[in-house]
Symmetry: C2
Subunit: 306 residues, 2 copies
């Protein structure tokens, strides 16, 4: 019988499927536009059937919004502090078309409270690949809702969300700051100026400077096409200012960032202005995390003995 | 010949017209839906003609967005620190349908920079009626773009904008925090909880807690219909936190607030949680301010001798 695993990274806008061999190597990947907000006719079962079509009858592990209130089946959050083993022991099973799907729970930090769903699997992916970060680390997952995660001795001890990406989108698309602007141009100087403004805002914070995106433009010292980059710098800079003020990160500790591309590059540039060090965390964290959780849950060996 | 004044409070969404007698008493008021974004056919001249129809040929003084870049005629900002006399000496004249309109400049605080247009006339209205505040005061004008104004010896020494009202609208109407909520109900406890969260956020600020509007709701400890009041408390609370952190206000100084109604009532309740004292500033500030500026500019006596 074939050994291995099928992993699903099932978020709001996309469904990614991975087929692994029995050593955890990804043999095949699929990306479907069937996030939980954009399901095909037939809903979750139809999307699932398409994602695994012609693949062998392997155990299936899924993470992400598929386990949320508006997903296929709501899976309760697991409280921090927690480990990979506790996460693996808290899977919820769901039967569909003769297969059993196992769903990864999201995490909840009861001290705030704060929640994540999907990112916990990325965090596990880092833990699986970077033991030094797992011992004592600060993990940053930038995005629509950036997550700052504290790790200690292989446990997720807590985390917090900053809505930087969503605020940026709201302000550029719907607020007076983004109204009637010409198409944005890349302006590194404007970006750095925004980061500086956030840093200089101190305990008041960047909300006390938000309107400067308009007043500097009216003043003639910020070109209208550069307002977007200024706002990006102001909000990313404020996220870093918050991380320091709240004690999530400091100049003596390294921040490990999950992700790549233009957005992560902005965080790197902003961090250097703050005197913070950001390292790139290992890549392909979700597929690694799914494998690691399935392994800890005994899903792979269970199948082998079936 | 008739003596007196016509004053126009001409903003983005409304045009208010006041006819004064020669002592500054308002004899007649008109409100038209012709803000500069919603002009009738015929544009500014037609809106103006309608606002002053059948009124005597009095001097006309206008403040607000009518003097902005997208207004009838752009009037340059006047830098702080400034006084009523300097403001009155910086009017710009515009000829329309045989009448002369005098436009009040907005103010610019070059130290930030920050700008206001329209609120400067409200500030003058307070100065004209409350000499104690004019000597040394902190003026708060809550709204879409709240203004915090420092007064000293009858001068506006500086000011800052916090976009509290606009952020609240963006977050409730367009963000995930406001998505799929039932109609909001009044929940004083949720409002106070939001204010508390802002206060407790300390130097990190309320952006570090923004996502709690969702996580508390998912957690079951904040009813979905109360999320709006929680967000209102969080944002108004953060504005007060910023004011203290930035040194615009402190527990030993009184804050004088311009405005009335439900929004101002929220600021009063939030201030009491912060241990700050807010006094209600004198009412009808724009109409008083227009008269005071016209008087300082000699517009009323000029007309009398014409």
């Amino acid at each position: 019988m074939t050994k291995g695993l099928i992993g699903l990274d099932w978020g709001s806008t996309q469904l990614r499927a991975y087929r692994y061999d029995d050593q955890g190597q990804v043999l095949e990947k699929r990306a479907l536009p069937y996030g939980i907000r954009h399901l095909p006719e037939g809903g979750f079962p139809a999307a699932f059937a398409q994602a695994v079509e012609h693949w062998p009858e392997l155990p299936v592990l899924a993470c992400g919004m598929v386990g949320s209130r508006h997903g296929w089946l709501e899976v309760p959050y697991l409280d921090t502090p927690t480990s990979v083993d506790r996460l693996a022991g808290a899977l919820t099973a769901l039967n569909a078309a003769g297969r059993t799907l196992h769903l990864v729970p999201g995490l909840r930090d009861p001290s705030r409270p704060d929640v994540m769903r999907g990112e916990e699997t990325q965090v596990v992916g880092v833990l699986a690949q970077a033991p030094d970060v797992a011992r004592r680390g600060c993990l940053l997952l930038p995005g629509t809702h950036s997550k700052w995660v504290s790790l200690r001795d292989g446990h997720v001890t807590g985390f917090a969300t900053v809505m930087t990406g969503e605020l940026f989108a709201l302000l550029t698309q719907h607020s007076i700051l983004g109204a009637a602007l010409p198409p944005a141009v890349d302006d590194e100087q404007a970006f750095r100026r925004g980061v500086d403004a956030a840093r200089e805002s101190g305990a008041a914070g960047a909300l006390s400077r938000l309107f400067s995106a308009r007043s500097l433009m009216l003043d003639g010292s910020l070109p209208p096409a550069s307002v977007t980059d200024y706002l990006s710098g102001l909000l990313i800079g404020d996220e870093l200012r918050i991380a320091v003020a709240a004690g999530w990160a400091d100049a003596s500790s390294s921040i490990h960032m999950v992700g790549e591309g233009a957005l992560c590059d902005r965080y790197l540039r902003a961090a250097s202005i703050f005197g913070l060090t950001i390292h790139q965390a290992p890549d392909a964290t979700t597929s690694h995390g799914l494998w690691r959780i399935a392994d800890a849950a005994g899903l792979i060996s269970t199948q082998a003995t079936a």
